[in-house]
């Protein structure tokens, strides 16, 4: 082959190859174009094979040109391949497309009961303040439920709450506890001061179920007995509690009230968190009645063998249902006990 002929063919094949690459409609066509342009039977290969028969100078110049053409064709083919691959991929992706607005595959979330959530929130506030959780039985004796708490047999406070008694032969003094306060007595009988406990639990009253009453409900109660405990400590502790549970702007209000096992006794209101204490439908006058509290009555300390001259203490208690109803705006106490999952699932994110 003449060098001039070879160079002409190379130029023609460069043009041809570029045209074929450009014309390839898919990756298979591009493979065919590559074979046609650069394959063993291609005119380009014929030129390469003919190089051996050329004079050294011609071989150098034609060879150089052949390499240039090959690089250019490779580049053209690669570029086209990238284009075609992109097209093919987008086709595959398009075919794989889903409707992202369809709902995801969910696993059920599960939820704690709102009373449990409320109990934990309260317990956590007090354990961080150094209180320990204490628990006691739900069936109590008269001593723990009443007498030791300064409610002797003929005390008028006994008729205030209608107790549920259990019918166990030979044990007429057994009843379902009406307050978690009985745990105070158990704890103090078992240990010496200092006592800092918080006791959540189930309590019972002989009440017919309606929107605001249930024979079964829950309380949480706190007790601190130590040297030098004062009413001011009670106020500070409950103020700290209210701020921790309901927010830093909470205020609390103490007014005189009566519980046989504390004196001075107090009713504790917290400022309404709905209206920030200005008065609304939830609270009426800006305050929500939340706790009963007071200084442990000296008779109670004497009943457990503590010296009331040396030790003083405070106690407080609240109804979990009431706190939960206020926190979440639950209108009817029966909702807590029906097990309706549409109710329960509303508290998955509650804390």
């Amino acid at each position: 082959m003449e060098p001039a002929e070879a160079l002409r063919i190379l130029d023609e094949e460069l043009e041809n190859g570029r045209a074929l690459a450009a014309a390839a409609a898919d990756l298979a066509a591009l493979d065919r174009a590559q074979t046609a342009a650069l394959g063993r039977k291609s005119r380009y290969s014929q030129v390469q094979k003919s190089l051996g028969g050329l004079a050294p100078d011609d071989r150098r110049s034609v060879g150089k040109r052949a390499n240039e053409v090959r690089e250019e064709l490779d580049a053209a083919l690669d570029a086209r391949r990238a284009e075609l691959q992109a097209v093919a991929e987008s086709g595959l992706l398009a075919a794989d497309r889903v409707d992202v607005s369809l709902p995801g595959r969910r696993r059920p979330l599960g939820s704690l009961h709102p009373l449990t959530i409320t109990e934990y929130a309260i317990v956590d506030v007090f354990t961080r303040m150094g209180f320990r959780v204490a628990e006691g039985p739900e069936i109590e004796t008269d001593w723990y439920n009443f007498t030791a708490l300064n409610i002797p047999p003929d005390h008028p406070a006994r008729s205030m709450k209608d107790s549920l008694f259990v019918d166990v032969e030979g044990h007429p003094d057994l009843l379902l506890r009406t307050e978690t306060s009985a745990v105070q007595i158990h704890t103090m009988e078992e240990q010496q001061p200092p006592v800092y406990i918080v006791s959540p639990g189930r309590v019972y009253r002989r009440e017919t179920l309606d929107a605001t009453h249930s024979a079964v409900f829950h309380q949480i109660e706190g007790l601190a007995v130590d040297e030098g405990i004062t009413f001011a400590d009670l106020k500070g502790t409950l103020e700290a509690f209210a701020k921790a549970l309901f927010g830093p702007d909470q205020r609390v209000r103490f007014s005189p009230s009566y519980f046989p096992f504390v004196e001075p006794g107090a009713q504790v209101d917290v400022s309404c968190f709905k209206c920030a204490g200005t008065g609304c439908r939830t609270c009426g006058n800006g305050w929500i009645e939340m706790l009963g509290a007071g200084m442990v009555h000296p008779a109670v300390l004497e009943n457990v063998g503590y010296d009331p001259e040396r030790y003083t203490g405070f106690a407080f208690g609240m109804g979990l249902e009431r706190v939960a109803m206020i926190r979440y705006g639950i209108p009817d106490i029966r909702l807590f006990f029906e097990g309706d999952v549409r109710f329960l699932e509303q508290f998955v994110s509650a804390g």
């Binding site: 595959r105 969910r106 696993r107 059920p108 979330l109 599960g110 009961h113 009373l115 449990t116 934990y120 150094g130 209180f131 320990r132 959780v133 204490a134 628990e135 039985p137 739900e138 069936i139 003929d154 008028p156 008729s159 205030m160 549920l164 008694f165 259990v166 019918d167 166990v168 030979g170 044990h171 189930r202 002989r206 009440e207 249930s214 024979a215 079964v216 601190a224 004062t230 009413f231 400590d233 106020k235 500070g236 502790t237 103490f254 007014s255 005189p256 009230s257 009566y258 004196e263 001075p264 107090a266 200084m295 006990f337 029906e338 097990g339 309706d340 999952v341 549409r342 329960l344 699932e345």
Partner: protein, 793 residues
């Protein structure tokens, strides 16, 4: 206790408006729950004289009256005709208002007769709950006078919550005392004001107290020549506003004093008392008496009785009997005023199931010094309202106990309250403001306790008084105690929290069921009645016992959801069950119940929650707790499915069960579809926890994974096959997962195919094919020998 404010102002003439007074009283512990205003909207009603009552031309029921006021005459149509010409009546002319009507009165045509306003019944004026006739006013009422002003139908009523330690607040004067303390307006209590005749009461009546312990003091006044009739309008209105029904002048007078002074009184018809005698004694065992509510009461030797010479006439301090009741025929009244020992009254009232205005006061503690005062004041009112004469003096027995003295150390008060140092004079000043007679020194203040303050018995009671008055609660500062211990939770409480958390992670919603069980619940669970703790005074038969199990409560929750078309429900509960023991066992249980479609929507295959979902939850929860040693055993008894249930053993102890509800029981409970349940004893789980958590090296070399499928008889438990496989494979056998179970098709009748994916590995290198083949061969040989299992090629 409802306190009519105009009445209170007679004793404490404060001009504070109702809401401000209520706020001030509440701040010192006299809790005003509500301010009622029964006479709001009463205006312009005047005293009018009836001139004529004529038939209505066009109605049988209505009548047409002519009335006269100082403004002239008017025609008024009325619906009743109890009034007669000459009567004085409350007349509401056009433009006036009555409390019960929303709008002012107008001239209105009633069946063709123009009616200029209306005549009022007692109910329309909130004087008494009587609506059967027009109210006829006393004949000395000035014509044209404003009815509201004339009869005190004004001002608010405070509804006060009474704590059981403060019976002294169950009276107008008691609340007036507190009002005086908070406002600084002096208390003005008149003396009884009784004017007596010459005849001494002791000439006509005798009083004997046999049981001076239960009745330390008894006093009887006698009023002769009474004429029963209505009591004054103002008194009726006040009784009504306080929640009592006006009855007659004599009875109303005693009730009026009950409300005003707080001391219960009882009037007897003197002529009906045998021997004109009162004998205060214990009842005979079984002695009967018909109380004023018409119920025959059988008394015991514990009950105190007011008797005459032949019979009981009242259950002391609780309720009178019909035997000596005052009536229209009564002319002479013996008026009882006594002090009864509180405990005795409480026990009798409780045993009889009677709670009366009298018993509520006596059982909390009456004021012994009020006995004579209340009797004198009531005798005076009876005489004034009924025209009788009060005899001189009183027949009495026993005596008034002296006042208590209690002392308080100001330094102790400061220490308990956490206030700055309180001085003796300051403590004395505060106590004196609420009626204590004090002698103060710096180290100790002696206080003579007023007789009405039964609640003040010891030093701490005085400390409460010191902080209660002067809004002391608000003025104490707020500090935090120095707690010298870390807070925390005992292990059982923390364990329960962990348990709940794991169940929630499994997608279960926590429920809390009531703790009661019916006979049907016990029967369902196969518990004999004597295993349960019965309630002595249940609210209903459905709540006759305490629950012995969690299962019925869980089923009720599922039922509640299914009945509302919520088909998928997954619920759990952690709670106490109760069983007869020594004497009572309280056992803590955790249980869950699941039912309904397992699918979560469009992309999941349809499937029903069943035994394996429940078992899976049990497995994962036990794993999460660290309970490793557990097994399933025999099927659980009723109400569980015999072929889809098993008992659960943890660390060798029976711990509970997992299983589906028996289909027959499900049908009885109207539960459709499968219901899977597990109930476990919390303590059994807790004691089965392996607390050690230690790092084990994560495998560095890949395992050789082989899928081994065995054809084996259907009745060979997969669990047994798996255990044998692990055992035979030896220590090179890592994880074993059962990934397929099927029968039918190419599998011979009576057999099934169990396919396991088994990872073989050693820690320090990759196993060779030969080593794996060897292990597989060991497994195949063993399973063939033990179970006739055939390894598929």
């Amino acid at each position: 206790m409802k306190v009519v404010l105009s009445w209170l102002r007679e004793f404490c003439p404060t001009d504070l408006p109702a809401d401000e007074l209520a706020e001030a009283l509440t701040a010192v512990g006299v809790k005003v729950e509500e301010i009622l205003r029964p006479w709001d909207g009463l205006s312009g009603v005047v005293v009018a004289e009836v001139l004529e009552v004529a038939d209505h031309p066009d109605s049988d029921k209505l009548c047409v009256t002519r009335v006269r006021t100082t403004n002239g005459e008017a025609t008024v149509v009325a619906g009743v005709r109890n009034m007669e010409a000459g009567d004085l009546v409350p007349y509401a002319p056009p433009g006036s208002r009555v409390p019960l009507l929303p709008d002012p009165l107008e001239v209105r045509s009633l069946r063709g007769v123009e009616s200029e306003g209306m005549l009022c019944s007692p109910r329309e004026l909130n004087v008494a709950d009587v609506h059967t006739g027009i109210m006829v006013l006393p004949s000395d009422s000035p014509l044209g006078a404003d009815v509201g002003e004339r009869f005190g139908l004004a001002d608010a009523v405070l509804d006060i919550e009474i704590e059981p330690n403060r019976p002294d607040l169950m009276s107008v004067i008691g609340v007036a005392r507190e009002a005086s303390a908070v406002t600084g307006v002096p208390l003005t209590i008149p003396d009884a004001g009784v004017s007596e005749g010459e005849e001494p009461a002791t000439d006509v009546a005798r009083v004997e107290v046999v049981d001076l312990e239960r009745c330390p003091y008894y006093l009887a006044r006698v009023i002769r020549g009474v004429g029963l009739g209505e009591s004054p309008v103002t008194a009726q209105a006040r009784l009504t506003a306080a929640g009592m029904r006006p009855i007659s002048n004599v009875v109303d007078a005693t009730n009026y004093i009950l409300l005003e002074v707080g001391h219960p009184l009882h009037p007897f018809d003197l002529s009906l008392l045998d021997g004109a005698s009162i004998i205060v004694r214990r009842a005979e065992e079984g002695e009967e008496l018909t109380t004023l509510d018409g119920v025959i009461r059988s008394l015991t030797g514990e009950d105190l009785l007011i008797a005459d010479r032949s019979r009981g006439v009242a259950v002391a301090g609780v309720m009178g009997s019909a035997a000596a009741e005052v009536s229209q025929a009564t002319t002479d009244v013996l008026l009882e005023s006594a002090y009864f020992q509180p405990g005795g009254i409480l026990r009798t009232a409780r045993r009889l199931g009677l709670s009366t205005e009298a018993s509520m006061r006596f059982e909390r503690g009456a004021d012994p010094e009020a006995v004579a005062f209340a009797a004198g004041r009531a005798a005076h009112l009876i005489a004034e309202w009924s025209g009788g004469t009060v005899l001189a003096g009183a027949a009495e027995a026993g005596s008034v106990s002296p006042r208590r003295h209690v002392s308080v150390r100001p330094q102790r008060a400061s220490a308990v309250l956490g206030t700055g140092e309180l001085t003796g004079p300051e403590v004395g000043r505060r106590l004196a403001s609420v009626g204590f007679v004090v002698q103060d020194r710096d180290d100790v203040v002696d206080a003579e306790v007023p007789s009405f303050r039964v609640d003040v018995q010891c030093e701490i009671d005085l400390i409460e008084e010191i902080v209660r008055v002067d809004r002391g609660y608000e003025r104490i500062g707020a500090t935090l105690p120095e707690v010298r211990q870390p807070g925390g939770m005992p292990p059982p409480y923390a364990f329960r929290r962990r348990l709940r958390e794991l169940l929630v992670r499994q997608g279960l919603a926590e429920v809390r069921s009531l703790s009661f069980a019916s006979a049907a619940d016990l029967d369902l669970m196969g518990d004999p009645p004597d295993r349960a703790i019965r309630l002595a005074n249940p609210l209903s038969a459905e709540e006759g016992s305490l629950r012995t199990r969690l299962t019925p409560g869980l089923l009720r929750a599922l039922q509640h959801n299914q009945a509302r078309n919520v088909l998928t429900a997954r619920v759990f509960e952690v709670g106490t069950v109760f069983r007869a023991g020594a004497p009572v066992d309280e056992v803590e249980k955790v249980g869950f119940a699941i039912t309904g479609p397992a699918s979560h929507g469009w992309s999941d295959p349809d499937r029903e929650l069943d035994f394996f979902d429940a078992r899976g939850i049990v497995e994962v929860v036990l794993e999460g707790l660290g309970v490793r040693d557990w097994t399933l055993g025999e099927p659980a008894p009723m109400p569980f499915h015999p072929g889809r249930s098993a008992t659960v053993t943890v660390a060798g102890r029976h711990a509970g069960l997992v299983g589906e509800l028996h289909p027959r029981v499900a049908a009885d409970w109207d539960l459709s579809g499968r219901v899977a349940i597990a109930v476990l004893a919390v303590e059994a789980l807790r004691s089965g926890v392996d607390p050690d958590v230690a790092y084990a090296e994560v495998p560095r070399f890949p395992p050789a994974r082989r899928d081994l499928a065995f054809i084996v008889r259907e009745d060979v438990p997969a669990g047994d096959l798996r255990s044998a496989l692990l055992d035979a494979g030896g220590e090179v056998t890592g994880s074993v997962e059962l990934f397929d179970v099927f029968a039918g098709g190419p599998i011979p009748e009576g057999k099934r195919n169990l396919a396991f994916s088994v990872d073989f590995r050693v820690p320090d290198r990759t196993l060779t094919d030969d080593e794996v083949d060897e292990a597989v061969a060991r497994i195949a040989t063993r399973l063939a020998a033990d179970f006739g299992a055939e390894l598929r090629g």
